[in-house]
């Protein structure tokens, strides 16, 4: 992929001119029949795909109010039209959120509304042809479901919901995406996205214990499958082996160690990520989430803590209570949820983000830091999209912005914010989220990172920023790959708990 170059920074971040067709035919690989079969989807495009797709769309319109209202309510005002990082980076008009939605809305109007049935041209309605279906596969895999458009829409229309529905329809007619579906297959079979079996995981954790012992002289444990542990840690499997992810895993372990918390990982449920969300399939989403429920019940833990992973935290925070009962406030008659909720300790939020855990402990004075250990880093913080716009922390609106920043400021001395139009709820996706973190979409990923790279360059020039912290496994993997293309050092990206790990004082208080 040597031919992929970074687009030029915009001198002033003006809205780019349209380049129709710029990203046509640049979609992802199609899932083969083996991958599809494993998830119970048709192996290849079915004979009567047209009728089945329309039927599926009708079914989803009846199951999801979001989709129904979002199909009806758009007035084409254009508020979202310049908000998507993929539009900014590619200039393809079909990457404008409204135009992306219209790929489906045009079909909705044709088959489900009166004006579209009688006057299709007038309201921009289209038949679902093979070309349209291909266009769906192409452009609905150029959306990272980051929800930035939904912040600015006067009706809160969230393109992510439309993208999810489109992918669900595509899967149901046998036209899936290789990357996401292959990964989901691995979770079902082995328990994590990487397909890392239990013995390999055990080896890795033992290796980590040795590494930390060597570096600090202290026996920090990385326990697995410990029954009766207080905390079950659910973390993205990238944390077990990828750089810089692993440094954050070491950070979590050190925090647990320093606070004397008994904790465990689960070999059966060794994955926080849930790609079921990316493909918009409730059953897949639920089945993957149920592994965590099962692990929690089997291990008898009191608390469930989630590691640094953006969409995983959205699923955990917003969906787990619904999907698997991890949370509180179920009806007394709700046996399914109560079974687990009775076991969990409700003095603590369930589930809890590792940042909430660490920040609580800092607040209680249970941790102490040598901030100077991070002095080589001049730090900024990249809000990950799913954390920023799909979840919260700390039990109050905006806690998801404060808590990671508070931790950084507690463990390091040099911190600078990036342009406020690109942080907090207005943050830009890294360019690799939503099931797009695959090499067959590298060109798109590089272009989609443009708005973030522009403002990072700005703070690098202005304040000498040399470290961008984040709390998302996909952000970390994406930036490690694309930052060199923009001329940054790949080690410039890292986790918040990597910084915690650098500064935390172990063995003393």
């Amino acid at each position: 992929m040597a031919d992929i170059a970074a687009p030029a920074y915009r001198v002033i971040p003006i809205i780019p001119a349209l380049k129709p067709g710029a990203m046509e035919g640049k979609g992802p690989f199609v899932a083969n029949d083996k991958i599809q079969d494993a998830l119970g989807f048709p192996g290849q495009l079915v004979e009567d795909w047209h009728d089945q797709a329309i039927a599926k769309m009708g079914e989803l319109l009846g199951k999801y109010r979001s989709l129904k209202v979002y199909m009806d309510a758009c007035v084409h005002c254009g508020a979202c039209s310049d908000k998507c990082h993929y539009f900014i980076g590619t200039q393809d008009p079909k990457n404008m959120p409204v135009a992306r939605q219209d790929l489906m809305r045009s079909v909705y109007r044709r088959y489900f509304t009166l004006p579209g049935k009688f006057f299709p041209k007038l309201v921009g309605a289209r038949d679902l042809t093979r070309e349209v279906l291909d266009e769906w596969h192409n452009y609905f895999h150029q959306c990272s479901e980051c929800r930035r458009c939904s912040v600015f829409c006067p009706y809160g229309i969230d393109t992510a919901e439309v993208t999810m529905a489109a992918r669900e329809i595509l899967d149901s007619v046998g036209y899936g995406q290789k990357y996401s579906n292959e990964i989901i297959g691995k979770v079902h079979k082995i328990g994590n996205n990487l397909g890392l079996p239990a013995p390999a995981l055990k080896d890795t954790l033992e290796g980590l214990e040795e590494d930390v012992k060597e570096a600090t002289g202290i026996d920090v444990r990385f326990p697995m499958d410990v029954k009766g542990a207080e905390v079950l840690l659910i973390t993205p499997s990238a944390d077990f082996f990828a750089e810089p992810h692993i440094d954050s895993l070491i950070g979590y372990a050190k925090v647990f160690h320093a606070t004397g918390t008994s904790w465990t990982l689960s070999s059966m449920s060794s994955e926080a990520a849930n790609f079921g969300m990316f493909i918009g399939n409730y059953e897949q989403l639920r089945t993957i989430a149920l592994r965590i429920r099962q692990a929690a019940l089997e291990l008898g833990v009191k608390r469930i803590v989630v590691g640094e992973c953006g969409h995983a935290w959205r699923v955990a925070y917003s969906f787990w209570n619904t999907l698997s009962g991890v949370g509180e406030g179920a009806d007394e008659t709700d046996k399914f949820a109560m079974m687990l909720q009775k076991q969990l300790d409700h003095r603590y939020k369930q589930p809890m983000h590792i940042c909430e855990f660490t920040w609580d402990m800092i607040g209680q004075g249970a941790l102490s830091f040598d901030k100077e250990a991070n002095d080589k880093h001049i730090i900024t913080f990249h809000d990950s999209c799913n954390v920023a716009r799909g979840s919260s922390m700390g039990g109050y609106p905006g806690g998801q912005f404060d808590i990671p920043r508070n931790i950084i400021k507690a463990v390091a001395n040099n911190f600078y914010e990036m342009n406020p139009n690109t942080t907090h709820e207005r943050t830009f996706c890294c360019g690799g989220g939503g099931g797009l973190l695959t090499d067959d979409l590298l060109d798109l990923r590089v272009k989609g990172a443009l708005p973030r790279m522009e403002v990072l360059q700005h703070v690098a020039d202005e304040h000498g920023v040399n470290f961008m912290a984040c709390i998302c496994a996909i952000c970390k993997a994406q930036f490690t790959k694309i930052m060199p293309i923009y001329g940054f050092d790949r080690r410039m990206i890292g986790g918040v708990h990597q910084l915690v790990s650098n500064a935390i004082k172990l063995g003393e208080k």
Partner: protein, 241 residues
Amino acid sequence: MSTLFAILFYFATLVLVVGLFSRISVYTRTPAPLKIPTTPAPINTSGVVLRMAREVVFFESLFKANLWTWGLGWLFHASLALVLLRHLRYFTEPVWAWVAFIQPFGMYAGITMVLGVAGLWARRLFVERIRYISTPSDHLMLVLFLVIGISGLVMTFVVHGDVVGVKGFMLGLMNFNLQALPASIGLYVHLAMVALLMMIFPISKLLHAPGVFFSPSRNQADNSREKRHIAAWAKQLESEK
């Protein structure tokens, strides 16, 4: 002509009411299986009411998105609201005091409404991105509002219509006691276009008006960890195992 318009208005009202009612009942019946408020979001119902109020009254999100679109859009909608309220005088006898009070504001709001629509249309015509996403119906919708607005303004400020006659016709419609509609081209155009607007309301993008209240990303409280939220069809999956 009076009978024709009477039939037209009865029909338009029927379409509007039945159409909107059925749409809203579909929205009400359709579940939202997952918690998807765009965060940061309020954590309780009173917070949601406030968020929705800011959205509906001030167009908060649009304000964040684009000041031009917000300014023109808000000008249009606020003016339209005043104009509609002013028109209550044609349907009430005696006219309520506050309706009488806002008459002059409502009359000038007609001008700002037309300016707002014209501005929005200019945006649609001249901004490349917005032109790209516009369908013929998007343009026609604005034309419709322009025709209604301008015909109304002409009757208000240029060729004064027989307002007493119009009021008699409207009160007659409401009491099923048909009265003559004053003969005037301007009035015919104005009323015909209003009736058309009423009829396309439930089947067009004008559904954004009820839609916003049903948008899960705006109307859900962010309390997913504290309260289990589950749709009936999703609950069924639990009993299957």
